[in-house]
Symmetry: C2
Amino acid sequence: MSQRRQLYPLVSVDVALFCVEDNQLKVLLVKRATEPEQHRWALPGGVLQPENDASLLDAARRVLDEKISVKVRHLAQVMAFSGATRDPRGWSIGMLFYALLPRDQLNAVERHKVEQLEWANAEAPGHRLAFDHAEQLRAAVAAVRQRVESDQLPLHLLPAEFTLTELQRTCEAILRKPFDKSAFRRRFKENPGLESTGRRTEGGRQRPAEIFRASSSFSRE
Amino acid sequence: MSQRRQLYPLVSVDVALFCVEDNQLKVLLVKRATEPEQHRWALPGGVLQPENDASLLDAARRVLDEKISVKVRHLAQVMAFSGATRDPRGWSIGMLFYALLPRDQLNAVERHKVEQLEWANAEAPGHRLAFDHAEQLRAAVAAVRQRVESDQLPLHLLPAEFTLTELQRTCEAILRKPFDKSAFRRRFKENPGLESTGRRTEGGRQRPAEIFRASSSFSRE
DNA sequence: AGAATAGTGTCTGTCAGACAGTATCGC
DNA sequence: GCGATACTGTCTGACAGACACTATTCT
């Protein structure tokens, strides 16, 4: 077994699943039910199954489905972690993905094959994580931030329809810095990634807000 | 054998080694000496050897050393490619790296274990490539461009000392668009990544140019 | 009217492209 | 002087932050 691992490394996928809740970027942690690192907090992950997975991306999708019954729209590679010491089972490769869960789908998350679930502050998870997952989490947060910084809007973290203020709060939560309302809105008069639904919010005790959605041709983050 | 591959995928690393020659971004291609895909052009690559490689990065370094006797300063992950069909040997993972070779080290490249070497235009290699290497090359070019675009200067493609004009020509070759000389230079009065050597070029039949080098604290691309 | 949030108009400083002009070498 | 390349100064338009202003709802 360990001899075979010398020739064929263990390959697993780990997923940093993000959401924005209470104006804070949060990541889903699971408490592991099995060895190794049983009872420790970790990113949801699993071993690649070449006979079942068409690709690493497909494996990540399967892991999310199996562990928390979630199908995400946005799932992308961050980077690979590798070496002999990062997993006690031997030389291993951990392919890290990040995924974004819209705020209105937080309740879709179900617990399977793990002891516990928690939405933790992505920048200060509050638990010591198993394996090299603390490092992986930092890399995933950096990847998401970089995309938002370079104008890839975090539309997949919002419901299908949203107001510009909601979009701004979400960006602010990810980058942890405030934006000027006027400048922020100005960027969308030109940005083809958004379009108005024509409708407005109702029932608030203030002026109604215009409701937007991602453009039909939209496929970016 | 193929049964084992079902459980443990083949893991290999491929490297897009870039240089800038004749004001053109070029990539090193090798003509494969062994099966599979014998006699076809490809990016230099090799199978991961967990018993010898401390990490995937280390494997990429070994491949470059074995195939072309080159030790590069800059080597970084691009992304992983995976699936059952990209390599005829079965379900496989190909970890793609890119590396940069300074112009003054082009002659250090030696041919080992391959039939032929060629510095090909990175955007139009002129050969049909083995495996999924055409797709990998496109991804690697995009990664390098993105880094140069976001102000990560391609200092590792230049000799240790260089003039601002050389730097500008190199950036232009990678991004394939001209820069305004004045604006380009202005960016370095502020950029701490560069410092002057105090010396100037000699022997040209024109005004001598100031010679720069990367700052001592430099570690970026 | 007042609170609350949505949304706009305008000023201003910064910065990048454009481009003309100057500097310094070999011949 | 002339050709060639290095380097600088200045104008200008685009744009982003700042911030005050208006708009529309509910109570």
